[in-house]
Each structure stands twice: as structure tokens, then as C-alpha cells.
Amino acid sequence: MIVLDGVAKTFRANDGSAVPALAKLSLSFRPGEFVALVGPSGCGKSTMLRLVAGLIPPTAGDISIEGSRVTEARSDTAMVFQAPTLLPWADVLTNVVFPLRIMGRYTPESEDKARELLALVGLAGFEKKSPRELSGGMQQRAAICRALLIEPRVLLMDEPFGALDALTREEMSLELLRIWSARPMTVLFVTHSISEAVLLADRVVVMSPRPGRIAEIIDVPLPRPRSFEQEGLHEFQDCAQRIRSLIFGNGGRRSGIA
């Protein structure tokens, strides 16, 4: 259980002014739940993930995971950053096993598992390549492998498929669902795609900006396992339409969020 209790975050900008990124918000995530976070750019989605990851302290309120307060990064929490963030001097395989090495959890089997994961996301044969030699989408997939390899109980993903083309994106979504159903973990998944949010999530947290707030939390009533055929169902359409109207105002259709 992840609990955010009255959590607020205000950044101090370089010129000394206060930037409120998240207004006081309280919500909780059930263990094993798949939650999508959507909202316009700058509404504090990345900030929320970094708070849960223990990378930045909240200005007010408390965050706890399974009853213990989050004050620093946890070894059972993995983060996929908005940018791939690979070490430029290390090859792909070294990058993927990097967290295990840092945490002192590297075993001889780790490398085999890393290779399996890389093959799963279509990066077989790229193990010894430098990140420079990979496209942005391939780098992001390597970063996803790096997060999955530590077998987290909480997986925080910040627009992980943002750099992927539509086809790879759909493939990766289904692969992620398969991995998630095979091994229980709580997933917080930030996305700019409303249909992706509905397809993947049990609940969709819709946020609104300046300062970041929760506009509404929407339950997705679609049965699992999910597939792209469900996009035609009227439950799917209702959810998507509801999210769209929350973000753009009633019935509004604007570009920026698909």
C-alpha cells in the first residue's frame, strides 16, 4: 500500500521565487495496482513520481510504502525516468545491471536475466553497444529493462513509451501488462496518451495544473487480460471521453494530448 497523506511540493526556483508544483493531495494505491497518471504538461506528474521514489522530500505531508515512511530511495522501488538516463560510457548490458551492482545484489545469473529482458523488448544483439549507437526509443527500452531487472515491488514509470513509434508502443504496452501479471507489483505510469492510460490501468488519476491537483480518479471497468480489441467497447470509449472532458473541459477536443 502506497499512501500519500496531505503531500505538497513547492520548488524554489533559481531566482528565489517559490514554484508550487503539487498542492496538498491525499491518495493511496493498493498493492499490485496499475495506476495511470495523466494531465497537461507541468501539472506535477514527474514530481509525484520523484516524491514516491524518495528522490525529493515533500514540502508538507507524508508518503509511506507498506507502512514505512519514504525518506530516501528504497531497494524495492524502481524508476523509469522521463529521459532514458543511460551511462554514456557503459554498454547497454552494463547499464541494465548497474542498479544491481550498486545495491550489491549482482549475481552471476543477473547477466542472463538482463539478456532475457533485453530480448523481450527487442534489443537482443545490442548488449555490447554503446547508448550513443541506439535510437531514443531503444535507449528508453533499455532503461525499462534496467528498472525491471531489480524486480521491484513498486515500479514508477515516467512516460516510458514517449519516444516510441505507435507500433512499438502498442507492443511494449502488452509486454508490460504480461510482465506485470506474471509478477505482482504496483505500477504508477505517467502518460500523455489517454487511450494508453485506459488500456493499461485499473485506475486513471487525472491531474490539473498550477498547482498540480487531482481532478478526478477514474476506475477502468474493463476485464483483464486487456487487448487492443477492447478499444472498440463502449466502456473504453466512455472512460476515454470522461478523461478527455476533465482535461479539456466538457466535450472539448484539443491537440496536445491524444
Binding site: 528522490l55 528504497r74 525516468f81 551511462l87 554514456p88
Partner: protein
């Protein structure tokens, strides 16, 4: 006129790249030497003012093995001073990066050591420590280490915050953050500093040998000018130049072989 366009490449003379990069500099260098030789003979310049290249060659090779030993002595001082610079600069840079307190304590001292003219310090050190290898190595170190500290510190501090955050998300200790993220990131900066340091080490060694030594190329220059053997002094200067170039290339080779991702020649920061 299509015919005119087609003829264009043959009009301007384009040399193959290997000719341009290797043959052209060699030819230019040989022309320069030839012009020097001709000028000295043409104007009958006395040898002690400006010796001809041929005179430099004959006079210097005439000395024989001792030139080789002088070169070795300078090389030893240079390398010892260079290694001392590395051993002291890198931990110093880490200390400066790791703690604002240490940084506040160390930086003013560093600036002071840089403001003191090392050439003036050399005789003082030699009185204090005697005319042996140690003061020479210290002078070499003092001349060479500063750029290495500055560029290594710059590299450690330039590590992108995303990589630092990645480290923290993996629960990296401060030591791990330094050793596995900041330091590898700083490698191109370190090599930028090392290339300056190796060139300065040669300078430092010669300065030290001017002041207190009984061997070395600096000593050779000193003694041969005292006896107006200008040709030999010029020979020693040329050997020093070659020594500097070779050492610089060795540092660059080490970088290419062991740190292929580093390209400090592309982003030299000192």
C-alpha cells in the same frame, strides 16, 4: 553549359588527404630548415648567435651518449612530477567536489600556489631540500598540477543531475556516486587536464634543472650556453620539444585505448 560543370573538378588541384596531412607538413618543415640553413650561411651568422641546423646536428651528436643520459634524467623528473601531479590532483579534486567546507579551505591555497612564480620558488626549495631529485620533482609538480585539479573538478561538477538522480534511485553511497558516476563522467575532463599537465611537467623539469642539477637537458642548456656552445643548447631544446610531443601523444594514446568513449580533444576544457 553542362560541359563546363563537368570539367570543374579537374581545374582546381585537390590533393588526396594523406598527401595533405602528412606530405605537406613534412615538405613545409624541410623547406623551413633549408631556409634556416641557407640564411645562416648566406649572412655568415656567427655560430654562437644562431647555429645552422647542420651545426646543431653535428655538435649535438658529437657529444654522444651523455646527451642520451641527460634526456633520460629530464624524462625521469618529468614523469615523477607528472605522476605526483596525478596522485595529488585527483584526490584534491574529489575533496573539493565532495564537501563545500573542504572546497572553501583548499581553493584559496591552490590559488596562492598558482600566483607564486615557480621559477622563483625553485632556488628556495633547493636550498631547503638539497640539490637532489626531490626538489626538482616538487617544482615540476607545482608547475603541472593546477590545470589537472581545475579540469577534474570541472568534470566532477559537470555530471548531469539526471545521472546523479539515477545513482540516488539505486541507493548509491556517496563513495559509489563519486567512483561510479561522477568520476567516469569526468574522464574526458581529466584527460584534458592530463594533456596540459604532461606538457607543463616538461617545462617544470627544465626550470628545476636550470636552478639545481648536475644532469638533464636543462642543465645541458645552462652549461653549454655558459661556454657559448649555442649549437648544443639548440640541440637540447629540440630534444625537449620532441620529448614533449612524444609524451603528449602517449597520453592521448592511453586515452584512445583505455577510454574510447572519452574524446577530450573534442571538448577540451581547461
Amino acid at each position: 553549359m553542362a560541359a563546363d560543370v563537368a570539367e570543374l573538378p579537374e581545374q582546381g588541384f585537390t590533393l588526396p588527404p594523406w598527401v595533405r596531412e602528412i606530405v605537406v607538413p613534412i615538405v613545409a618543415f624541410m623547406l623551413l630548415v633549408a631556409a634556416w640553413e641557407a640564411m645562416v650561411h648566406g649572412f655568415s651568422v656567427p655560430e654562437f648567435i644562431l647555429p645552422a641546423p647542420s651545426a646543431i646536428w653535428t655538435e649535438t651528436t658529437k657529444i654522444g651518449w651523455p646527451v642520451f643520459y641527460h634526456t633520460l634524467a629530464t624524462l625521469r623528473t618529468t614523469l615523477l612530477g607528472f605522476v605526483a601531479s596525478i596522485l595529488i590532483s585527483l584526490p584534491l579534486a574529489v575533496a573539493i567536489t565532495a564537501s563545500p567546507l573542504l572546497s572553501a579551505a583548499i581553493y584559496p591555497l591552490l590559488v596562492i600556489t598558482q600566483s607564486v612564480p615557480k621559477v622563483a620558488l625553485a632556488p628556495v626549495l633547493i636550498i631547503g631540500l638539497g640539490a637532489n631529485e626531490l626538489p626538482r620533482v616538487i617544482v615540476t609538480f607545482l608547475v603541472a598540477f593546477f590545470p589537472l585539479v581545475v579540469s577534474t573538478t570541472a568534470g566532477l561538477l559537470a555530471t548531469p543531475p539526471e545521472l546523479i538522480e539515477l545513482g540516488r534511485s539505486c541507493r548509491a553511497s556517496r563513495f559509489q556516486e563519486m567512483a561510479r558516476i561522477r568520476f567516469p563522467f569526468a574522464i574526458p575532463f581529466v584527460f584534458g587536464g592530463l594533456k596540459v599537465a604532461i606538457a607543463l611537467s616538461v617545462v617544470g623539469a627544465v626550470v628545476a634543472e636550470f636552478v639545481g642539477a648536475d644532469q638533464g637537458l636543462g642543465y645541458l642548456i645552462q652549461t653549454s650556453t655558459a661556454f657559448f656552445r649555442t649549437s648544443v643548447a639548440y640541440g637540447a631544446v629540440i630534444i625537449l620539444g620532441i620529448l614533449g610531443i612524444v609524451l603528449f601523444q602517449v597520453v592521448e594514446l592511453i586515452e584512445r585505448i583505455f577510454f574510447p568513449w572519452s574524446n577530450s580533444h573534442e571538448k577540451m576544457v581547461v
